[in-house]
Amino acid sequence: MRRREALAKLTGRERYVDDLPLDDFLWGMTVRSPAPRGRVTAIRFGTDIAWPEFVVVDHRDIPGPNVVALIEQDQPVLAAGYVRHVHEPVLLLAHPSREALRRAARSIEVVVAPEPPALDFRAPPGPAEIQYGTDNVLKRLQIVKGDVERALARAAVVVSGTYETGAQEHVYLEPQGMIASFEGAVLVVKGSMQCPYYVLKALQHALAREEALVRVIQTPTGGGFGGKEEFPSHIALHAALLALKSGRPVKLIYDRGEDMAATTKRHPALVRHRTGLGRDGRLLAQDIEVVIDGGAYVTLSPVVLSRAIIHAAGPYACDHVRISGRAMFTNAVPFGAFRGFGAPQSQFAGERHMDVIARTLGMDAVELRRINLLADGQSTATGQVIQDGTDRLAVMERALELSRYREKQRGHAAFNATHATLRRGSGLATFYHGAGFTGGGEVALQSRVRVAGRPDGRIEVLSANIEMGQGTLTVFTELAAARLGVAPEDVTVAEADTARVPNSGPTVASRTTMIVGGLLERAADDLRRRVGLDDTARGAAVQQAIRRWHREHPGEPLVGEAAYERPPGIAWDDTTYRGDAYGAFAWAAYVAEVEVDLRTCATRVIDFVAVQEVGKVLNPTLAKGQVQGGVVQGIGWALMEECKWREGAMANNQLTNYLIPTSDDVPSVRVAFLENPYPHGAGGAKGLGELPIDGPAPAIANAVARATGADPRAIPLTPEKLMELLEIADFGLRIADSAP
């Protein structure tokens, strides 16, 4: 089936939040902290502004607790006299003219008595920089399997390495925005978001309103990638506060500069590996330390750290593993959810480290992976026994074959020996991604989905999971149509409006198709039972029974419902971090071929092969598009996307100087799927959306190492950074493997 809303998007008819008709409204704007830390001693309003025309909101206007409700209740809606990061919201303004607003906002001076900020998450904070607990550690987690110290002591070889990954800006093409207005007593907030019920919860909490007096509606969302997971709650609250105070609709739309400066990014990370190996290259011990920069509030950092450490050991069998994780408080703009959610950072380190190990042992990098890849019956670092029947070696073999890896290696050797200025190489990464919330998370969410039968026999899917480009509307239509045997044209997917749809959980963690789609299938079964049919009834029989039911029950709603149930045989202990971390893992092997120009030190990816096993592929066009988009986002993160920092805030908050890949920067991404249907996923599917961003960076860095002899340990591997590495290589120096 083709994407449901494609034609509306292609013709420009799709209405995003800033496109909605709105009468008699005010524009909203946020006034932010200029300093990374300190007490707000004064707020000076410009004298040449007609202030009575403006609505001005500060923290005293918040009816409930001054908190954006999330994991911890630590982040204020508006700073109350103290700021912890640059761009922290301090005041809100509203006015009918956007230009007048800009002038007014510029005239305001927020005066901060500065205190020493903590700005480097890698270094232990000085005493004056401690602001969270006794050591600025937001969260500490550990996974222990076997006895890693003993195994390291016995290992024939120990290879150490330190790896770093930078922040990444989402650059969803639609900047964030919200509209808040009132329908009678009900506050209605519409906007671009991934998680309507997160926004609802945050509004209820800080505005002290009961659920019936708040309604949240997702508007067509122009990309999210995690950037619209937790942050939209802030904008929703800001717009709502201005609407409450003014009594008028308020529209708060970020421009690109504000969006890049003030919203979350991917957590920067530092990962240290100490790996014990047998002479044959078998992994005997993995000692891994993962440190991430959380920024100035807890936000989602504990769960990002969790996913980072669970994926840190890679898809390999090893009996003795210790993974220690820390999320650090700093006075940076808080980091947040971004596609992959910690796993890309830890798997960059892990997969680059595999190649460093191979080079140290004088071993082939493919062979090293071949002997260590998890086989069915073996267990991951958390002790999760893998027995899904997927042939992980076959996934790798297919990637090698499609990329003509061996043949090209020989070709590269000849090319590099003769070409004056260009160097080519290929790099491999084998990796995995757990789908759905970690551990007991899915149980805690208590997700519910409804499938309604309409009086005319049509089917309506009701869930809080949203379309942001990844294909929810299309896949949900296909799943409902297939389950009930009806035509896709007879299926509609309800707008994600909290007044109508049940809480099926957030649109994150590669869970929408696999988990929510599974609930949808069961809700469809329930609908069928409610009209007196068994699960074998299909098509016209179902629709006739629905119409008949409505004739017999005029005016009553006909709704099938399903709630999440943990698949059998899954167990997780959150206190020991042992057990089944995810219901299913998707498996992948990616090969990047690069060409480095020694004159400019620029790296170009000239071929990319992405092979993955994601259970049953439900919609080949959408699935391929997800992989290609994820890979290109990964290419950007690996080679060009660099956040420049000034006092913990992004200094290059423009698309002029924060570069993302264009069509001319990347090759065609060649995609192949191996299919091993997952019995507990909708239609046999496993989660797919995040997997493709885990592999490109290590594959590319490994390829650059092959091509040039340099030893990259950090991304983004910009030309400037590669030049430094190549100068070191030129002088025949080994790169020191020391912590920064």
Partner: protein, 167 residues
């Protein structure tokens, strides 16, 4: 109109006339107004999107006298007497290859993408000197990885009618 007003100071409004999607339009515009805002907020043509506001992303691509431009960089008063065409002027039937080949995901870049792509389709002679990837490099997309877009343009070029338009 749509509750928006692009005129900040009615006294300074400049009266202009131009052709929009084939029809004459007369209106008063603020001297500082961007064509993008005039289209979106004054004329309620919201198909043209703002992605960056500085001419980098191409989401606001329109044709000015037949040539693609970033409407966020064009002061509205400059289009006096010119022809402006927006995504709303495109023939939906011609967009079928884009629907089929996965050219759109989130859709925020899409109007700009199809404007540039349609222009390439009308000027296939450009492909003698430039690749599709080069010609599309002014339109940033964060979802598709560009394969869906590039494939769609290639498909559209194969459709009958390619190269017919005279601009």
């Amino acid at each position: 109109m749509n509750g928006h007003s692009a005129i900040r100071n009615p006294q300074s409004a400049i009266p202009i006339t131009f052709t929009l999607n084939g029809k004459p339009v007369s209106l008063g515009v603020d001297p500082a107004a961007r064509l993008l805002d005039t289209l979106r907020y004054q004329l309620a043509l919201t198909g043209t999107k703002e992605g960056c506001g500085e001419g980098e992303c191409g989401a606001c691509t329109v044709y000015l006298d037949g040539v693609p431009v970033n409407s966020c960089l064009v002061p509205t008063y400059q289009v006096r007497g010119q022809r402006v065409e927006t995504v709303e002027s495109l023939e939906p039937g011609a967009l079928e290859p884009f629907e089929r080949c996965g050219a759109t995901q989130c859709g925020a870049c899409t109007p700009g993408v199809v404007m540039t792509a349609s222009w390439i389709r009308e000027h296939p002679e450009l492909l003698a000197t430039h690749s599709i990837r080069e010609l599309m490099a002014g339109n940033l997309c964060r979802c598709t990885g560009y394969d869906g877009i590039v494939d769609s343009v290639a498909e559209a070029l194969r459709e009958p009618g390619s190269g017919k338009r005279d601009t």
